[in-house]
Amino acid sequence: MRHAIIPIILLFMLAFEGVAIELLPPSIKFADIYIIPQWILMFLILVTTYSYMNNPIIPIIYGAVFGLMTDIVYTSILGVYMFALGLSVYVAQLLNRMFQTNLIMIMLIATICLFVLETVLVLIYSFLGISTLPFGQFFIYRFLPTWIANLFFIALIYYPAKKLLAWINVKK
């Protein structure tokens, strides 16, 4: 039953992404740089590292389901976040087996996964005509600020989340 905590936390992350953006001061919220909270991905990276070792498809399913919920709540186009988040959690699974698990390595995994996620999002959205950002500008204005903000976030939740996931794993 302890595993039910993970989707509940993900639901909170989903709800707070929008609230956090609204609470940012307008000078940051409407500056040229784009800061996008990708907290669901950050938490799922930790989940793939410390939980579900022998059941790797479950975090991917979480990624797809909560991606679809992001689509429903925050964008009016379904499927985009679902595919992008599912794919990036899958990439996290692949990388997990190559690296050791400590904070630095997790940050590296988070960087790569975030890059996959953001690139897929920008590619699909520009294909659909929603974004008109050229790739060079995407890297400077969108990826870098988002990356810094989310690395900060994953460092913040690393120790609490690690303890929580260890507690969840004790008894299945």
Binding site: G18, P26, I36, I57, I72, T75, L78, Y90
Partner: protein, 310 residues
């Protein structure tokens, strides 16, 4: 771990197929949200609502401390304004009474200007910046319907794009495209109003694009205001949209385009008013009926005028 070797490609392919079909679905659907979507929006909105209230309480508290410092200066100015205001209120009341009695004489109760206001608080904003949407804490249970206009005290900010039971999503005017044009006009005191359509948003200039469709040749100048017209079908008449900053011919030189600076501050939106116009929203069938009525009235007027002339 056979999953990663054999099945992974298969799963990714299924993912792409799902992606394409879901994107297609969301581009084609025009009607209301499905039950599952409403359920998710409601539960997430409920979470956002209960967390947003205490946080704004704290941030407002610090904002209030800043305000107190400026209070004395503002008080002086406001006291002077208050004197002017009192006479104005009296005048407005008199005019309202007169207006109502005149309306009763001609059996016209709901004017296109009248609306019911539903107050709402912004609880979240789409983290994806390309979708300029905000989520407000009032939904269909509170009487909000799709396509209603949303304003702040300063002017129009957007339109309700989808409604669930407890929350609704508002599309800001800075995200408007060809699909949601607003019928608007430049009010003139002499009655030669200039009509047009607000067609979209120029992100570089941060201004709305107002296409003038009036053929009377009336010239629009800078600093004139643009307000909404009830002819679009969903909005009441007279909602402030913005002021004209620049007038240029369009790319074919046939019509003119005015760039309109939005009156409302689109960046800092906390409290909004959802506008439910009292005049019935016009569906296609009603439109035909009403235009017949208008023709009848026109005819009556003509007969009367002819009678007077004789």
């Amino acid at each position: 771990m056979s999953f990663f070797k054999r099945k992974s490609l298969f799963v990714i392919l299924i993912g792409i197929i799902l992606l394409v079909s879901l994107v297609g679905y969301s581009f084609t659907k025009k009607d209301d949200l499905s039950t599952a979507e409403k359920f998710i929006l409601d539960s997430v909105g409920w979470l956002q609502n209960i967390t947003f209230q205490p946080i704004t309480f704290v941030t407002n508290f610090f904002g209030n401390i800043d305000d107190i410092k400026q209070t004395y200066e503002e008080n002086k100015i406001l006291r002077n304004k208050l004197v002017e205001y009192k006479t104005l209120v009296y005048e407005v009341q008199e005019l309202k009474k007169e207006n109502e009695s005149l309306r009763q004489i001609i059996d016209l109760i709901d004017s296109p200007r009248d609306y019911d206001a539903i107050l709402a608080t912004v609880i979240a904003r789409s983290p994806e910046r390309w979708f300029e949407q905000i989520i407000i804490n009032q939904g269909s249970l509170h009487g909000i319907e799709k396509n209603m206009a949303v304003i702040t005290g300063e002017g129009l900010i957007g339109q309700v794009s989808s409604v669930s039971n407890l929350t609704s999503t508002v599309q800001l005017i800075s995200n408007f495209d060809q699909l949601n044009r607003i019928s608007a006009y430049v009010p003139r005191s002499k009655g030669d109003n200039v009509f047009g359509l607000v067609e979209g948003y120029d992100h570089k200039r941060e201004m709305l694009i107002f296409r003038i469709i009036d053929e009377s040749g009336a010239k629009v100048k800078e600093d004139e205001i643009v307000v909404s017209s009830s002819l679009g079908g969903y909005f009441p008449s007279g909602l402030m949209i913005g002021t004209i900053k620049e007038v240029t011919p369009d790319q074919y030189g046939l019509t003119k385009i005015a760039y309109v600076e939005p009156a409302a501050n689109l960046k800092e939106i906390n409290e909004v008013i959802v506008v439910n116009r009292k005049l019935d929203v016009i569906s296609d069938e009603q439109e035909i009926g009403e235009s017949e009525d208008i023709e009848e009235i026109d005819e009556n007027e003509r007969i009367e005028q002819e009678g007077e002339n004789e």
